[in-house]
Symmetry: C2
Subunit: 491 residues, 2 copies
């Protein structure tokens, strides 16, 4: 199954693409840049959604749904927002088709032209703040803590499954607050939730930081982000949370009466993660044998495979297998028993290894005699013989160990790939020879940041939260700097 | 709160619209025909989704996600499908905007015109069957049982919140089978699931039937439906399930190798329910005092309101209220304790009545002394005094009773509003004076059906499944007929 695709070493980019397709996570569709998320991929995304949704609700947020279309003029209302978003987008200009005069197929009905074009949402700040204007009169209406799960479209020229697609799925939180302080706290709280999710569910360590003005969300006063490192030494932004100040409130005239009776503009945040996380999950943990899924997000956590020659043996093995399956399921573990007669065990082993099932159990007639079973873990590829006694607790523990081990491995890799550079030469050679995160001094100007990007393709991923202050000199200009920031090439 | 809106008697249509908006379920957006689903409405929709999704998965279906855009040419591939769907739709023609030459706002960049226009999906058969072609080679790849939760767009000219909107949310199942028999069984199974859901969760009785060829889904060989009756005597189609034959397999060239080694076209079904069900829920059960929600779909099932004068009383009442809240929550009941100091109890009573909370509990100092509490049920507006002992079981039973009672009330109404007509005159007068479902003979032709629709606005809602055969004469033409079908005016 996994034969005809390259190793990470040979061609990381191709390895990723082939893995996503061959493992049945997603594929390209007939529409340029739009992907089909296949059932196995979608099952992982559903687990991500459920975990995040629960955390959003536990912190007081409610879900809602806003229109997919945004009137073109809305984008012009927030000056920097239009620069960032409205340009590369899907534009709806007509609302009817008609039969072609030549009788061949259908054509756009030119008489059905919209007075104002509609944009398929690339993000929903504008349409949401247009609604909030009617929802907010007084401080009693605040805060508004809303999230929506939705599809969005950004007309990307170069697309990659999950990482960069024209249409993608995401959640976008949009909150409204009476004070700046409360809004900043909200933006930081949501960043913490994202970091918690990515580290504990996806088993992927992240660095929390703030973006430089250059890399900020269009319309934000501050963009908080979490940055992760992939196995090719490139960084991936895994989630962002924005403090939007009063920009959207001013653009859409959303004011509230304070307790003191004055009228003030409302403070805003927005925050989102997307199906891009699926790409991060694959890139961070998988290996040359296929997917490696952290147990907490694996649609199937344990697969049980019977080993047998005769149907009599199968029936004996199946009896024990189903008892074990049941015991595991009572622990909340998701189990598949694969007694498909059309495939040999070896082929099944390969398939489930390729699909990243965290634990594989094999049971044969000799195991039945001896009260044992064979357990293989996907992350380390180690095999153990376990006694069947108390198997549900043993497997539960093993799944926890696997989850932790995947995290630790990713953390060790990141630490290994995190370096400091003190000179321009050192910076360039580290970047080209090793990649990874590079801590370096920067003079704080957008010009320098741009120049470094042009010359090396590296960007400032973030200024880490709680960063250590340290006197130094900018690697490019030599001007004084008070702290190191993190550079990397990025997805 | 509920003062400034008409009764059902005065103006049913306005009553519905005001109720949806004032109860915070949904509102119109700045985009023509597109609604905003507000948190309270969305919380009900989430409960519907969760219940349906569980049933889909229990019957072997998996979720996936397909692109929102469909190339225009795809619609021309299935002849009747294009007639039904591709005409009134949102057409994407360009992929970029640019700054207006006059410096005022942004305009469409005419150089960024798509070679082929993209349609925002009105339904996804075409894009999905284009994918299935690559997924299906042999009978081993079948059946494919896939569902997607998605937004779709149909450019409706006259829209109403939930019932008919340009964009709406729905689920669409798309399955592929090796045999006709299996596909028909699937279409029928899903109809049964819809009927079960609408009757048991929404407390709304439905009639299962098949559509006449005129009313079939564009591209289907058979459309199964469930039909419900609203309080104004109009019918509402609550869900449909389609047997698509081999139409889409032929249009998209999807063949499979049979066990015997021949190549055959694949058999298909599709089925869907949408946010329209939210409209049905409101229209079917609510009254002149506001929403009436069946407990199984109510985001808050029980509200507890403290009655007090002094803060000391409040603290005593709160102590008991929280014990009761906890006991109810341990039963899986959703409870809100509303000790908001800014509103008087009477106002709170009105608000929760208006919002359709099934059970309201009030506790005051005298209740504390006597070990009692006051319980009010929303459906009948009856009040009881309960002893606090074993309150969690009493309330659990009461919620069940309310669920059943709402169903029974709707069923009694439907039975009352179901009549037979034997002559054209009788038919017309029943329709105009009473509405409701009318069982009448029909000669089986599309011409007659059309004529009846033109003259009365009534359509054939369905031919009930398991319909009793009975000799008779068509109400319009007098031609012979073998069974009565159900006519009604419909949403």
């Amino acid at each position: 199954m996994a034969k005809d695709f390259p190793t990470r070493e040979e061609n990381y980019s191709q390895w990723y693409n082939d893995l996503v397709i061959k493992a049945g996570l997603a594929e390209n569709s007939a529409v340029r840049g739009c992907m089909v998320i296949k059932p196995y991929g979608f099952a992982i995304w559903e687990k991500m959604q459920a975990a995040l949704d629960k955390m959003f609700k536990e912190t007081g947020h409610q879900n809602a749904y806003f229109p997919i279309f945004i009137p073109k003029s809305f984008f012009s209302k927030e000056a920097s927002h239009v620069e960032g978003f409205a340009k590369e987008c899907a534009v709806v200009t007509h609302y009817r088709l008609k039969n072609s005069p030549d009788g061949k197929g259908i054509v756009v009905d030119e008489t059905a032209k919209l007075e104002e074009e509609l944009i398929v949402r690339p993000t929903s700040e504008t349409i949401i703040w247009d609604s909030y204007r009617n929802w907010i009169q007084s401080y009693r209406d605040l805060p508004i803590l809303i999230n929506q799960w939705a599809n969005v479209v950004r007309w990307e020229m170069r697309t990659r499954l999950f990482l960069r697609t024209a249409e993608f799925l995401w959640q976008e939180g949009h909150t409204a607050h009476a004070t700046q302080k409360e809004a900043i706290e909200e933006a930081e709280r949501m960043l913490d939730i994202y970091a918690y999710f990515v580290e504990n569910w996806m088993a992927l360590p992240v660095i929390k930081g703030i973006k430089t003005p250059n890399e900020r969300f269009a319309g934000a006063l501050e963009t908080y982000c979490i940055e992760a490192l992939m196995q090719d030494g490139k960084a991936l932004q895994a989630g962002t949370s924005h403090f939007l100040g009063q920009n959207f409130a001013k653009a859409f005239d959303v004011k509230f009466a304070t307790k003191e009776g004055t009228m003030e503009y409302v403070w805003a945040t927005s925050w989102g993660v997307s199906t891009r996380l699926m790409g991060a999950l694959v890139m961070a943990h998988s290996d040359d044998k296929g997917l490696v899924l952290p147990p907490m997000l694996a649609p199937i956590q344990v697969v049980i495979i019977p080993i047998y020659k005769t149907t009599e043996q199968l029936s004996i093995v199946t009896e024990t297998a189903l008892v074990i399956k049941n015991a595991l399921e009572n622990k909340g573990i998701t189990v598949k028993y694969d007694d498909d007669d059309n495939q040999k065990p070896g082929r099944k082993f390969n398939e489930y290894e390729f699909k990243g099932i965290p634990v594989r159990i094999a049971i044969g007639p000799r195991d039945i005699e001896q009260g044992t079973l064979e357990v293989a873990r996907r992350d380390t590829l180690e095999k153990y013989t376990y006694h069947q006694i108390d198997i549900e607790n043993k497997i539960e523990n093993l799944l926890k160990q696997i989850q932790e081990n995947i995290y630790k491995k990713a953390l060790a890799y990141r630490e290994e790939q995190t370096r400091s550079a003190d000179t321009w030469e050192e910076f360039k050679s580290l970047l080209n020879e090793k990649g990874g995160f590079i801590y370096a001094h920067w003079d704080g100007t957008s010009e320098t940041e741009e120049k470094i990007k042009e010359e090396t393709k590296a960007t400032i991923r973030c200024i880490p939260i709680g960063n250590k202050l340290e006197e130094g000199k900018c690697i490019l200009t030599g001007k004084p700097s008070k702290q190191r920031v993190i550079f990397a090439k990025a997805y």
